[in-house]
């Protein structure tokens, strides 16, 4: 009897597990540009702005991180950024971000585009996918809970180097 109660409690605990949440029908929101949500610098004429309050709705969910990983190659982000290490475009695994490294900044960068090559994706791909991409970029920077990361790449590449490149956190 005690065993069954234990199992039931464990099952209940699993259902409250946020990382396995799958929001398969994202709210069809037209892409909203977060006006003034992202700040690139605290410097502001006549005082300072409050910090951005926009957070990524998909932070810490394994499914959305892996969706972001898929979109990163499907939408050909890899074409310029490679697997996060950078190529034609800048690397995405880094500490110092020119336009800010907060989720809201990354959202802005993807939606609005940036000078010297980063295209504007706003109005082309749905908002929830931008957030999934942000979640994935955060994961390759090891800024996602370790248990949400995929233990291996989805592609059948051999050699640990590739896998390390894709999900650095997995080597820990």
């Amino acid at each position: 009897m005690r065993i069954f109660v234990g199992i039931a409690v464990c099952c209940l605990a699993l259902t409250s597990c946020n990382r396995e949440k799958r929001d398969l029908r994202p709210a069809p929101v037209r892409l909203a540009i977060y006006e003034n949500a992202a700040t690139e610098s605290p410097l502001e004429p006549g005082g300072s702005k409050p910090a951005p309050t926009v957070s990524n709705p998909y932070h810490g969910t394994a499914y959305d991180i892996s969706e972001g990983q898929r979109l990163f190659s499907w939408y050909n982000c890899v074409g310029c950024h490679a697997n996060g290490g950078g190529g034609m475009g800048p690397p995405l695994v880094k500490k110092a971000w020119i336009y800010g490294g907060e989720p809201a900044n990354l959202f802005d960068t993807i939606v609005k585009g940036r000078p010297n090559g980063m295209p504007t994706w706003g109005g082309r791909i749905p908002e929830y996918q931008v957030w999934q991409l942000v979640a994935y970029i955060k994961s390759i920077n090891q800024e996602q809970p370790i248990d949400t990361l995929s233990p291996r790449a989805d592609t059948m590449e051999t050699g640990s180097q590739n896998i390390k490149n894709k999900v650095p956190g997995a080597t820990k």
Binding site: R22, L24, R25, P28, G123, R124, I125, P126, Y128, M156
Partner: protein, 362 residues
């Protein structure tokens, strides 16, 4: 005679109860038989349409006959053992050690020995039949006039490419494979993500599609028709909605189909359809799908160049109609939860031209 039968029909309510039951049973059996046959005509091993599946069907029939005979014999022996009269041995007290006679031991040895021998012989016989069938099926391939079709499994749809040395003769399509009647076709399969399995029961057995590996299977249809296939290896959330159709056409019709598929999509002259094309090229559609003749060149989702010529959408999930297509574009995650189609938020005035444009891609 006629009046007699009419009267019999009128009097049916006055038939004895058992006869009425018999009549109901007969009617039911007739309808069950009808529905089973109708079912058998769609995706059934019992309705072979080519030499490969004929071999499979023959093997299946042999197995059914032999195993039914064994089943009946075992049941008969069990019934005999249950109903025969006891000879008294079992009635003796338990503590008395029963020493069987030499005669009983000989009988026992003979019975058990022949049982084991029969089992081994039958199993080996079935094994040999199975291996011979497999060999016969594989020897049906390698024909001079064979055609090669590359099938790549994806979550959850089938990429189809007609391989040709001449690049201008390569046809790319999805979820529907047209083949000419009577010509052997080599299905060269692989997968882009997880293991899938290509299975069109009327044409041949299952063949797994394995990432980074190429597997082969030959199919041939000897009569024209539509044959349903299904992924036969669990591949994720929408495994059950990953089906395909093989359509066997007479050779001249197949050539006509192929000639049309080789053409790029016609650029619409109608303003309404042009607006639809522009919606397609503006939103996320263009990053994954391709339409030859436009700038859409995505390689990770079904090719839509001749989308309207296909009879189903979403890998056999829905009939290809305007209403279904609109539903699929607006809310793909309700029709096929977990699939990789993006949920876009199109305005009605964008959706209508897009649907009309896609359904004009003959």
């Amino acid at each position: 005679m006629r009046t007699a039968s009419n009267r019999a029909a009128h009097d049916s309510k006055r038939l004895p109860v058992c006869l009425r039951h018999l009549r109901i049973a007969a009617t039911t059996a007739y309808f069950v038989r009808g529905s089973v046959c109708a079912f058998a005509r769609s995706q059934s091993v019992l309705d072979p349409a080519g030499p490969q599946s004929m071999h499979v069907f023959r093997l299946w029939s042999w197995f059914l006959a032999i195993l039914t005979a064994i089943f009946v014999i075992v049941l008969a022996l069990t019934a005999w053992a249950l109903t025969r009269r006891h000879r008294g041995i079992e009635q003796e007290p338990l503590e008395r050690v029963h020493i069987p006679s030499r005669e009983t031991e000989r009988k026992l040895l003979w019975t058990v020995g022949s049982g084991i021998a029969a089992t081994v012989l039958i199993l080996f016989g079935l094994l040999i039949a199975s291996v011979t069938t497999g060999k016969a099926i594989s020897e049906l391939g390698n024909k001079q006039n064979g055609m090669v079709v590359e099938v790549i499994g994806n979550q959850w749809w089938w990429y189809v490419r007609y391989v040709n040395d001449d690049a201008s003769q390569i046809v790319v399509t999805a979820n529907e494979i047209h083949i000419p009647v009577g010509r052997p076709v080599r299905i060269r399969g692989t997968s882009n993500d997880v293991i899938h399995s290509f299975w069109v029961p009327e044409l041949n057995g299952k063949r797994d599609l394995i990432p980074s590996r190429i597997t082969d299977e030959w199919i041939q249809a000897d009569r024209p028709g539509r044959y349903r296939g299904q992924c036969a290896e669990f591949c994720g959330m929408q495994h059950a909605h990953m089906s395909l159709w093989v359509i066997a056409d007479p050779p001249d019709e197949f050539e006509k189909w192929k000639a049309r598929q080789l053409q790029p999509a016609v650029d619409p002259s109608d303003l309404h359809l042009q607006a639809g094309r522009d919606v397609f090229l503006k939103y996320a559609c263009v990053y994954c799908h391709s339409i030859t003749g436009t700038t859409a060149n995505g390689q990770v989702a079904p090719d839509l160049t001749h989308f309207a010529s296909r009879t189903t959408l979403a890998a056999g999930t829905l009939p290809n109609t305007k209403g279904n297509l609109a539903g699929w574009i607006v809310d793909p995650q309700t029709i096929k939860p977990g699939n990789h189609m993006a949920t876009l938020n199109l305005k009605p005035e964008e959706l209508q031209p897009l649907v009309d444009y896609l359904e004009s891609l003959q």
